[in-house]
């Protein structure tokens, strides 16, 4: 009987702890709201008609001198030209490339090298896009308007829920490990009490 009461007491404690956790969570969320994620990806759009064609998750580098960004893959809003042209001003850099244009408005967005000399191998067969002809949008941009709802009444975002779910999974597996460990201790204790 005493154990039963004890147990209920512990249960209450557990509840308080979980409440404490949720408070900590919401405060960390406040921080999230304050500053935009610096490592958030960007998507890239045609500079003229804003059709999105790719994003920084397929980032392959950049060429700052030529003001280009390099992407490993894009969607079919980019049309790969059929007519190769000779690219490169210097003899050494000369090679063949095709134009990349926007499917929506035929705006020239960049090119793709079909063959390269050694110095340009890092650009071969990937999408080279001219920064001045494209636009970008960073996810979760701080430049957004926020709904005029009291902080307490704000619903959590789906992304936040995902985060909670992930944490839950981790806690669950932690609980399994702890359970395993407890069982070992139990077996241990049983063995020892058997010998004495």
């Amino acid at each position: 009987m005493a154990q039963q009461i004890d147990y209920v007491g512990h249960k209450d404690d557990t509840y308080v702890i979980s409440e404490g956790l949720s408070v900590a969570d919401s405060s960390s969320k406040v921080e999230d709201d304050g500053e935009g994620d610096s490592d958030a990806p960007a998507i890239f759009l045609c500079g003229k008609c804003r059709l999105p064609f790719g994003d920084s998750l397929s980032w392959a580098g950049s060429d700052d001198q030529q003001n280009q960004i390099l992407l490993k893959c894009v969607n079919d809003n980019i049309v790969i030209g059929k007519e190769p042209f000779v690219s490169g001003t210097s003899e050494e850099q000369r090679c063949l490339a095709v134009h990349l244009t926007c499917r929506g408005c035929s705006f020239k967005l960049g090119h793709m090298y079909m063959s390269t000399p050694k110095s340009l191998d890092y650009k071969r067969s990937i999408f080279c896009l001219m920064v001045e002809n494209i636009e970008s949008y960073v996810l979760g941009s701080p430049d957004q308007q926020v709904a005029a709802v009291d902080r307490e009444e704000r619903p959590v975002t789906l992304e936040y829920m995902d985060n909670v779910e992930q944490q839950m999974t981790k806690i669950k597996s932690l609980a399994v490990t702890i359970g395993q460990r407890l069982l070992e201790i139990e077996v241990d204790l049983q063995c020892k009490s058997g010998t004495t």
Partner: protein
């Protein structure tokens, strides 16, 4: 507890000190990961679906779910390019019956892309003040895959966590029982009174 048991039989007996350090590592891991664990591969960017407009209206990081009856996505944040029209509209029929609301328009093409509810009957009151983007008016650019689909083909539902939480609570309560049991075993050992421990432990 039963879960722990089956695990024990599954695993080779491991060194207990490494195990406990594993627990602490995992605890630390949990603390560290609270900040940056966004799965950007699953994110999408919302564009105006009107052909030739494509203006960015927002992204999935600002989305909170969907309202099936209104065929719209609930957003906490949207792009500054979405304009809230000042004039209050009202509906006498349809899903927005008895509601007053402000229309959201795309500043690129001036089309109707959603609304903000101002006054509502009881069942819609939790949506007041939030941005509701009409799924049909939104195309989603999915990161990583680069695919563009109309939002009406996507789901923005909350997965209920309640069951998960109660399962975990049960797990933890079982563990607490086990800890109490162990404590009793220890107590009795220290007190030099040899009770038939094996029978209390076995269930």
């Amino acid at each position: 507890m039963s879960e722990g048991k089956c695990f024990l039989s599954d695993c080779e007996p491991c060194d207990s000190s490494s195990q406990s350090s594993m627990i602490s590592v995992r605890l630390r891991d949990m603390e560290d990961s609270t900040e940056h664990s966004v799965e950007y591969e699953k994110c999408s960017v919302f564009h105006c679906a009107h052909s030739k407009c494509n203006l960015v209206l927002g992204d999935s990081l600002g989305a909170c779910g969907e309202v099936k009856s209104l065929k719209s996505i609930i957003c906490l944040k949207i792009s500054k390019d979405v304009r809230v029209r000042g004039k209050l509209e009202m509906n006498k029929e349809g899903p927005l019956k008895f509601c007053t609301y402000n229309v959201l328009e795309c500043s690129g093409c001036r089309r109707f892309v959603g609304f903000v509810l101002h006054s509502t009957p009881h069942h819609l009151s939790s949506l007041r003040g939030l941005y509701l983007l009409l799924k049909e008016a939104v195309n989603c650019y999915m990161l990583k895959s680069c695919i563009i689909v109309n939002a009406s083909k996507l789901r923005f539902e909350h997965r209920p966590l309640g069951r998960s939480i109660s399962e975990m609570k049960e797990d933890l309560e079982a563990q607490l029982k086990q800890v109490n049991l162990l404590k009793d075993m220890l107590d009795s050992r220290l007190g030099h009174c040899h009770l038939p421990l094996s029978s209390t432990v076995s269930d």
